[in-house]
Amino acid sequence: MTVTAARNDLRSRMVAFRPPWQRATLVPYVLVGPALLCLVTFSVLSILVAVVVSLTNLDIGGLANYGQVRFIGLRNYQTMFGDPAFWEALGNTAFFVIVGVPTLVIGSLIIAIALNFSRSWIFRALRAFYFVPAITAIVAISLIWGNLYNSQFGLLNYLLSLIGRDPVQWLTDPTIAKFSVALVAIWRGSGLDIIIFLAALQAIPPEYYEAASVDGATEWQKIFRITVPLMRFAIFFVTVTTLINWMQFFDEPYVLTRGGPVHATTSMSLYIYQQGFSYNEFGFASAASIVLFAIIAVVTGLQLRARLGGDA
């Protein structure tokens, strides 16, 4: 008998002596059980509940007395597609995605390449400054920016006055407010994207650059001929995750403007939240959330497909 065989034999005999809950066959299920229970309850079960609730008229009255809840088929969806506020929220979300995602992906990539430019301690110390906004609480961040944006005593308008500009209604002008809210989200979102890009940059073998230097390549050539092509996967990954995040855009408009002025910053997520928790129309809000989920799933699916189709 080989050593391995002997060990296996011994092991199976020992297993047989153990009480049933300790047997190797059950152990993994016991280990994954609690975690899976939580995940399944709050995501898989949640989606099913959302689909079912979206077909009902569940509201605050129905919550108190489930007997009042009726299946109303697709009426929530019909009402929603006829609601101008829904289309406005969808349009706002598209605006945020179009402004936010390219700015974040390209901006973070540039900053990450710059941060990776030298290995000196100064560059490493500078990193922390760019990371911090990503890990601080959105509520706190919104208060700070609300203060900076304040049209009467805010610092930003004061700085504008120094160069002879009129004060800007950062959060009260419907068009400007969209950009103001997006700016805070860009500032906050950049840290995470920079971290991911930096990780990818550090995985590029330094020999590539050394070889390029020997051949007399300039820094720009190195960036565009070596760095960017080798970063294709990281750029793809960051684009997909950033896009998903921005399609779910919620925190900044909720805390900075509550979706105002006149719905100008109401994103899809905020629309869902308001329908659900301000008006207690749980059925209607669930229908809206299913639509948002479908949009995210389709967009993400298309991206994955484009990538797989395009090889690379």
Partner: protein, 272 residues
């Protein structure tokens, strides 16, 4: 050659300028929180306060209930660590056991990462409501108790633990719990640090669930308490900034101490 040697300085200077701009809102937060109320309205605004006072911080605890919010937040974070132990167990099982349905279950875990919070918001509220857990701290912590991403991180790390080590312990008659506790967990310290820091950040910053689940002041966390201060925007900037500092400063301290681990955690998230 001269140009090439100058480049790092130019890049460094640009980065430093960017870093100052990025960090400025936090600097502004701290200085404003130390200003007396009257000075916070002066025009032009003063960047460095002429007189400093801790009055706003004291008001948070005396006139508002921030002591309670702080305790609640800490409780929510601690419940999060219970979740982290579930995560460690699951990660260990996915890394080191063969069992029927393993790959299906792991795919299930990964797929939950793609479900947006807006879809789960209302059902989760309904589920917690039917469990009578709305308006409790447990209810606030439950929806984010187990992070699928953390399970993934733990699995990735624990796969590198040598099987021989676990086999040897089994031959010596150690029970599975004992193996997890005295062999697997000590080896996994680096990933426990990553998971611990991420769990702390998630729990501490958690906003939307406390907002939805806590209806009663008694169960407010810091983030909900601070969002109430924003309703007083025109009234008291130093008070708001003191509240913001109370939330931000502990995170920054944790971040500075554990920066290496956080970056590592995000790194593993991104590219494996």
């Amino acid at each position: 050659m001269v140009r090439r040697r100058a480049t790092p300085f130019v890049v460094g200077a640009l980065l430093a300028a960017g870093a100052v701009l990025t960090a400025f809102p936090f600097f502004w937060m701290i200085t404003t929180s130390l200003k007396p109320l009257a000075e916070s309205y002066t025009y032009p605004p003063s960047v460095i306060p002429s007189t400093t006072t801790l009055n706003s911080y004291l008001r948070l605890f005396n006139d508002f209930d921030f002591g309670r919010y702080l305790v609640n937040t800490i409780v929510v974070v601690l419940i999060g660590f219970v979740g982290l132990s579930f995560v460690a167990m699951a990660g260990y099982a996915f890394a080191k056991f063969r069992f029927r349905g393993k790959s299906v279950l792991f795919m299930l875990v990964l797929s939950t990462m793609m479900v947006p919070i807006q879809v789960t918001m209302i059902p989760t509220y309904l589920i917690l409501n039917s469990l009578q857990l709305t308006n409790t701290l447990v209810g606030i912590a439950l929806p984010t108790l187990v992070s699928a991403f953390n399970i993934f991180l733990f699995r990735q790390f624990m796969t590198t633990i040598p099987d021989e080590l676990l086999e040897a312990a089994r031959l010596d008659g150690a029970g599975e719990l004992r193996i997890l506790w005295s062999i697997v967990l000590p080896i996994s310290k680096p990933i426990l640090a990553v998971g611990g820091v991420l769990t702390f950040i998630t729990g501490w910053n958690s906003f939307i669930w406390p907002l939805i689940i806590a209806n009663d002041q008694q169960n407010y966390t810091l983030s909900v308490g601070i969002s109430l201060l924003s309703k007083q925007l025109a009234i008291n900037p130093p008070l708001q900034m003191a509240g913001a500092s109370l939330m931000v400063v502990p995170i920054v301290i944790v971040f500075v101490i554990f920066q290496r681990y956080i970056v590592q955690g995000f790194t593993m998230s991104g590219l494996k």
